[in-house]
């Protein structure tokens, strides 16, 4: 019986620890999630003004501007209804290009989206044209 009581105590302690831990975990999770908004939603004022979030859409063609003296870039993302300006200090990912999907994480500052991170979208079966363009040479030639 004694061993059983000890085991019981052990389980009780473990359960209490798990309970405390889960409260901490969920709290931490809540403060670390970032929501996704489309440019239309941001323009409509649905995005939080004081919290980081993600904005995504297609990079508008010919909208990419580089600052000549730093690594700062500006570009527009669009969901084909509205567009929004994104500013980023850093090096864009390899797959980033105009006319393709991109997602930026950051926050609003003075009406522009200041990104901390920019991700380019990429998927194998659903081919962005530029990637697939490359397959043109030689494919589906007449016999």
């Amino acid at each position: 019986m004694k061993a059983r009581q000890k085991r019981f105590l052990f389980i009780l302690v473990a359960l209490a620890a798990v309970a405390v831990a889960s409260v901490l975990v969920v709290k931490a999770l809540r403060s670390n999630i970032t929501y996704f908004y489309s440019p239309s939603q941001v323009v409509a004022g649905e995005a939080p003004a004081d919290q980081p979030f993600r904005i995504g859409g297609m990079v508008v063609r010919d909208s990419l501007q580089r600052d000549p003296n730093s690594v700062r870039v500006r570009f527009l993302v669009t969901d084909n209804a509205e567009q929004f300006e994104v500013v980023y200090d850093g090096i864009l990912p390899d797959l980033f290009s105009e006319g393709q999907g991109a997602v930026a994480r950051g926050r609003l500052e003075n009406g522009v989206f200041v990104a901390e991170e920019v991700l380019a979208k990429h998927d194998e079966s659903y081919m962005p044209p530029e990637v697939a363009d490359a397959m043109k040479p030689g494919e589906y030639q007449a016999p």
Binding site: S38, S40, G56, G57, M58, R61, D79, N80, A81, E82, G99, Q100, G101, K121, D123, S125, Y126, M127, P128, P129, A132, D133, M135, K136, E139, Y140, A142
Partner: protein
């Protein structure tokens, strides 16, 4: 004995909850940026027809019937995969327009000769400008457009048998029915 039995069922119950979540997740598409075009009139455009350069194709052509607009290109492997399904749809009497996206005219005509032509007409969008207005992220994509020229549905990626049976055809039936 009862409580211990319950205890050993816990992992199974947790797993079933997880499986239910995953099942629900399958129906969602995490990369889908909701298309703002749905419920809106088709974006305006005027483009030359692919085979018959003297002809022009524009958004007004969609008026008066339920049709599909399929965005495709010869360089796109997935388009090749969905092509037989388009042929099958065309045989069932579905009106399919094509938007040949960032392609060369010769390649595209050769493609249609070889694999068959399911399209009533093809807009030839050499530089992809119109594609951008339509919010095309890549090929293939397929839009369902109603009698008033309003976009009702957008399918991203290659069509599948299941998508046609479950989404496209029922929607076409419903849209046709709305009219009377």
């Amino acid at each position: 004995m009862m409580p211990s039995f319950v205890r050993y069922l816990t992992p199974l119950v947790l797993f079933l909850a997880l499986a239910a979540l995953l099942y629900k997740g399958l129906a969602l598409n995490p990369r889908e940026v909701p298309s703002p075009l749905i419920g809106k009139p088709a974006p305006e455009f005027t483009l030359p027809e692919l085979k018959d350069t003297s002809r022009q194709l524009s958004h007004t052509d969609f008026q008066g019937k339920v049709s599909l607009l399929n965005v495709w290109a010869t360089w796109c492997v997935s388009c090749r995969a969905e092509h037989p399904l388009l042929m099958q749809l065309a045989r069932q009497g579905v009106t399919i327009y094509g938007l040949d996206y960032k392609d060369s005219r010769e390649d595209a005509q050769r493609w249609l000769q070889r694999f068959g032509d399911p399209y009533v007409a093809n807009a030839f969008d050499a530089d992809g400008r119109v594609g951008i207005d339509w919010g095309v992220y890549g090929t293939p994509e397929t839009f369902v457009i109603d009698q008033q020229g309003i976009i009702r549905h957008k399918h991203i990626g290659p069509l599948t048998e299941e998508a046609i049976q479950r989404e496209i055809l029922p929607l076409i039936q419903q849209l046709k029915g709305d009219k009377g």
